[in-house]
């Protein structure tokens, strides 16, 4: 549902405009955001530097030597006036992410089960049952924020983030789920691990997942995970520094 006063254009510096389309997170936002992204690519052409789509907005960065911010604003107003949702291309590519759900590589499985008042098996079934959409990429290269998670699984982030979350970790926080492309600090609940290469500098397009894509997690056993090149090393115990 569109809020009054939207869409809006907000200054984002000498070389940027924030296009705000919505004020709530809905799957249907993606139909409009992918269309807007495409239309901006066409409208700005060579003057375009970067487009950053996220849940409800698109940040447009242009080259201020080729186009002034008021010229850019006019272009964007025109794009918005003619914007139609991307019904055809808005479905996004479907990815199946093979995931080994296990307490060793997913040390927060028990915590999620307890907070959701479910068995561990039910957590796994619920997480892998649904199809998710990619709403945004950020935090780290190829890190895709996916949702929306079933209400029953929604649980808060860890009080103390882990210093090192292993690459491939599959995690949940609030109504979102994600897989960590590389070793980084992180405060999400780890429930499993995938061998999928989420970010690969040799791959065309680099990131496996893009905004608008659809994702389904598929439960696999340890053997399959290892055959696909997964590292079964358990996650180091968390929150050690908090205890000491």
């Amino acid at each position: 549902m569109r809020h009054r006063g939207l869409p809006s254009l907000e200054s984002a510096g000498i070389d940027g405009w924030m296009v705000r389309l919505f004020d709530t997170i809905e799957e249907n936002n993606l139909l409009w955001l992918t269309a807007l992204t495409h239309d901006c690519e066409v409208a700005f052409g060579e003057a375009l530097v970067d487009l950053v789509p996220s849940y409800t907005t698109l940040l447009v960065i242009f080259d201020p030597l080729r186009i002034s911010s008021w010229e850019a604003r006019e272009k964007l107003s025109e794009v918005l006036a003619n914007l139609v949702p991307d019904d055809a291309g808005g479905e996004g590519e479907l990815h199946e992410i093979a995931t080994w759900y296990d307490p060793g590589v997913g040390p927060d499985l028990a915590r999620v089960a307890e907070l959701s008042d479910m068995t561990v098996d039910a957590v796994i079934d619920t997480h892998s049952y649904q199809e998710y959409r990619v709403f945004a990429l950020g935090f780290a290269p190829g890190f895709a924020f996916m949702g929306l998670l079933d209400d029953s699984l929604a649980c808060p982030r860890l009080d103390t983030p882990r210093q090192k979350v292993p690459a491939g970790s599959v995690a949940v926080a609030g109504q979102q789920t994600a897989a960590y492309p590389a070793v980084t600090p992180g405060g999400w609940n780890l429930i499993g691990r995938t061998a999928a290469r989420l970010f690969d500098r040799e791959r065309d397009g680099f990131s496996l997942l893009k905004v608008g894509d659809r994702v389904r997690f598929v439960a696999v056993d340890r053997q399959t995970f290892e055959d696909e090149g997964g590292d079964p090393a358990p996650v180091e115990p968390a929150r050690e520094e908090a205890r000491s």
Partner: protein, 317 residues
């Protein structure tokens, strides 16, 4: 090393932080990849211009100093930006002008005197294989730099240099009025925008009438400012794209200006955006230094930016 490349320097002592930077990594921010590039665009652009290089040529960003290099061949180079007590053999190394070094010469950076980041450009430019279209070194993302993996410089590293098409032989220097006094309180131009209307009147007054102190929590991702807490009617938002120089205010009310290695999206309300020149200037502030925020209109901000680029782009060819 491919043809046309030579070893320009050998690292004889690695400092805390020396990073290869071109203009930045663009066109991949929608994948969560940060911008990178020189934290002080102004100093970086001048170093390249003085070395006779085109815009975007990779130069070395030396933060805090304490690095030592030995020239492996005769070179023309320039250092601009912070005064990090640089020395050329046993002499002070002059900043903001080009100079010739001979094979075997030593270039040493010591302690910061004013500013934090010095830019060393060499005629022809440092040479490395671009990753995702850029050599900008971002350690956190393991991208760019001399090895492509975002690794910091280590003792013994050989820094490759592209052989220049032409060598700047005339002495060139940056005019006096283009050399900032980094030790003076900085006045940072901020283009109001984003959620500025949702801050309380008192906070808006405070934002632009406070001598903010630069916190020691400051790096290439962002610089935190200390002062009276600012209050926004919105506490947190749905995450959205973050532009260079965005000034966000988390619930503790202490603003954070986001620089080149910031995360690509974020969910705190923002006052607006520092101009690229203001972000550059802030990147040269040492912890404890004072800064002022000053509102600026879009037209004037753009004029100043184009001036910076035309000055530093008018290469000495």
């Amino acid at each position: 090393m491919s043809s046309g490349e030579i070893t320009g320097f050998r690292v004889t002592r690695a400092g805390p932080l020396a990073l290869l930077q071109d203009a930045g990594r663009f066109g991949v921010r929608h994948l969560g990849v940060t911008q990178g590039g020189p934290a002080d665009l102004h100093g970086w652009a001048w170093a390249n211009r003085l070395a006779g290089n085109d815009w975007g040529t990779p130069a070395l960003e030396v933060t805090f100093g304490s690095i030592e290099l030995r020239a492996e061949c005769d070179l023309t180079m320039a250092v601009a930006g912070a005064d990090l007590s640089a020395r050329h053999n046993d002499q002070p190394l002059p900043l903001w002008r080009n100079l010739k070094v001979r094979k075997g010469d030593r270039i040493r950076f010591g302690m910061p005197v004013s500013g934090l980041r010095a830019y060393l450009a060499v005629a022809g430019g440092f040479s490395a294989k671009p990753v995702l279209g850029s050599v900008a070194c971002v350690a956190r993302e393991q991208l760019g730099g001399f090895d492509g993996q975002g690794r910091r410089l280590a003792e013994g590293d050989r820094l490759t240099v592209a052989e220049p098409d032409h060598v700047q032989t005339e002495p060139v220097e940056t005019p006096e009025h283009e050399r900032p006094d980094y030790a003076a309180p900085a006045i940072l131009d901020l283009m109001p925008g984003a959620q500025i209307a949702d801050f309380t009147g008192r906070s808006l007054y405070d934002a632009f009438n406070t001598e903010w102190r630069v916190d020691d929590r400051a790096d290439r991702m962002g610089v935190r400012l200390l002062g009276p807490p600012l209050h926004c009617r919105i506490e947190s938002m749905i995450s959205e794209g973050i532009s260079l120089g965005a000034v966000q205010v988390p619930p503790d009310g202490q603003p954070i200006a986001l620089l080149n290695d910031r995360q690509t999206i974020g969910g705190y309300p923002r006052l607006g955006n520092l101009t690229p020149l203001a972000a550059s200037r802030l990147a040269q502030c040492q912890p404890g230094q004072n800064v002022w925020l000053r509102p600026i209109g879009a037209e004037r901000a753009l004029r100043k930016h184009r001036h910076l680029l035309s000055e530093s782009l008018a290469a000495g060819s």
